[in-house]
Amino acid sequence: MAGYDGVFDTLGLRDWCDQDKTDAPMSMAQLLAQSGGATEKAPLPFPSLDALHDSCARIAQTRDVTQGLEDGFLSIRPELKLVLDPITQPLSWLLDGALFLFETTPWWLMIPLLVIIAYVVSRSRPVTGFVALVLLFFGLIDHYEVAMQTLAIVFVCTGLSVLLGVPIGIAMSKSDTAQRMIVPILDLLQTLPTFVYLIPLIFLFSVTESKIYGIAVIVYAIVPVIRLTDLGIRLVDQDVVEAANAFGMTPGQKLTRVELPLALPNIMAGVNQTIMMSLAMVVIASMISAPGLGVLVLRGIRSLDLGVGIVAGLGIVLLAVILDRVSKAALARIDTHRNEQ
């Protein structure tokens, strides 16, 4: 007899409980009791769903609840897919295209190209030289291809994050209501452990599609660019905004000629963080089929292959350092240009 019978008896719920009583599947506790044999039942178990179920069959078992959630999720899955699939399809194309491009371009073209891009963005010789060294090092240790895969994904995801994040940030800076609604979502995205993102994604999409990791990366990395665009525009010198109004600028002119340019240092700081976070997430997203350096780290963990894991990990650090240096150099360039004395 279970511990909570008395409670239901005194409440006069016995009849209600025993209606259509069947032999329900065994609860976790019962299973344990059966296999472990002589586990003594505690005199007063915590009134959990399973414990209450023992006394009253009408109360659901915990596994029914998880099962119900899963069923519910699976039942709306077709509808969700119907909406989400077409919207996210271009992401798959972009990722596949970028991966194809980065993998098929010969190294003797790709490395100079990346070095030139690094110089154009950073305008700094030491940074550019460092980028060249790192790229050559990847080639030397036969990690060039995986590094390019990671880089391709980071580029696509950062690009899309900026493309989506800046307008959202602008909307937040213009409307306090929008800000109040979006900030909790951003807080949630930032506090959720990264693995938790992956669960609904594997339900919704197949791991054969590239967009599954693309979404994981973007959802995780878009937060800083949104936050700092909002902050940047709100922090724009109000005197200058007033001057823009006094000379009769339209809201659009004000945005493109005053607010965005003046918020640019902050937005760029957001982009820098977004790049770093995409890189972090690409590695984790290897678990759901993202190619690149993360796959090697994962292999290192799975097969306890210390060397493979360490080399891949080092590669990620190097990639992080060059991405950070280049974007920070770009940021510094904007700042000094304005504050030259």
């Binding site: 000379f247 009769g248 000629r257 030259e340």
Partner: protein, 346 residues
């Protein structure tokens, strides 16, 4: 003569129910009562000012008296709680957003205390800004901006960025920008307050020089009486959001309406500010020790008389004799006169 800008019965109260507060203020509630009882801040009350074309109207008052609030009503950067603002006879309050922008572009330009230049644009591009907002073609933008930059003495600085210039030079850019807009009205909110005294004197000179040439309707805000007296054609004195006296600066100086103004005017060098025309009397004799222009300062006359207080001078306005001035009267005018108030008549 219809005024270029007229403000009629203007009230501004800061707070969520500002309109409902207007009758209370009209009924005599003071700023502190309004704040205690209703939680609203009284910004301006019952402001009536006429600003004539081609004149410099100076609005003066201590910090917090509502000067910035008042000037921002003219181009509706701040919405009034009640009242009318007429520009060329047209009520600004009735304009829609697009018309308001048109007026801000074509009729009024503004110079700011903290310059408010675009830090990421060159001096040249900053001066072009109003024209590019107006949609003027590029060649004209460039030539107009160059012209006004040269006019304020910034030849050769076109390609610098604002942060590379001194404060005085940045404000010259601010003035060139306002002039390039080619508007009749120029609003200047403490335009020179952030500058060093010497640079400030320079800039006041520049403004007067430009004004003699361009004849704009200037609304100038300051908390400095010397500056106000130097440039004002019409002086408006503001205290706690209300006008306590307005008129010709000389008149205000000679007959302050209020102990507050008296305190203001108490420690200025009156000889340097007062003009002969404000002190002269009607012609009553025909033997004079010399002649002086009506627009000279008393200081100039004292110099001319070499300090001799027994002399009398004939006053002319350049064409005809308009009066006479005795040195005795001059000396009397130098003594600050107390305002006629209840305290003193009692």
């Amino acid at each position: 003569m219809t005024p270029k800008v007229a403000i009629r019965a203007l009230y501004k109260i800061f707070g969520p129910r500002d309109r409902a507060m207007v009758p209370l203020v009209q009924g005599g509630m003071t700023k502190s009562e309004l704040l205690d009882q209703q939680g609203h801040v009284l910004g301006l009350q019952n402001i009536n000012v006429d600003m004539q074309a081609a004149e410099i109207t100076v609005i003066m008052g201590l910090s917090g008296s509502g000067k910035s609030t008042l000037i921002r009503h003219l181009n509706r950067l701040i919405e009034p709680s009640a009242g009318e603002i007429l520009i060329d006879g047209e009520d600004v309050m009735k304009l829609g957003q697009a018309e308001l922008r048109a007026i801000r572009q074509k009729k009024m330009s503004m110079v700011f205390q903290k310059f408010a230049l675009l830090p990421h644009k060159t001096v040249q591009q900053n001066a072009e800004m109003p024209l590019s907002v107006q949609g003027v073609d590029a060649a004209q933008q460039i030539s107009e901006a160059r012209k006004w930059l040269a006019r304020v003495g910034l030849d050769g600085f076109e390609d610098r960025f604002p942060a590379q210039l001194s404060g005085g030079m940045q404000q010259r850019v601010g003035i060139a920008r306002a002039l390039a807009a080619n508007t009749d009205i120029m609003l200047m909110d403490e335009a020179f307050s952030a500058l060093d005294p010497l640079i400030r004197t320079d800039m006041q000179g520049l403004l007067l020089e430009l004004q003699a040439e361009l004849q704009k309707t200037v609304v100038f805000i300051t908390h400095d009486l010397d500056e106000a007296l130097k440039i004002a054609d019409h002086l408006v004195i503001l205290k706690d959001g209300a006008i306590i006296q307005q008129g010709d600066p000389q008149t205000i100086l000679l007959a302050p309406a209020d102990p507050y103004i008296e305190a203001f005017v108490g420690d200025i060098n009156r000889a340097r500010v007062l003009r002969v025309r404000s002190v002269m009397t009607a012609l009553s004799q025909d033997r004079f020790d010399g002649e002086i222009s009506a627009d000279s300062t008393l200081e100039a006359l004292i110099q001319q008389a070499e300090g001799d207080t027994t002399q009398t001078y004939r006053v002319s306005d350049g064409r005809a004799v308009v009066g006479q001035i005795a040195m005795k009267d001059l000396v009397k005018a130098l003594v600050p006169r107390p305002a006629i108030t209840e305290d003193q008549t009692r």
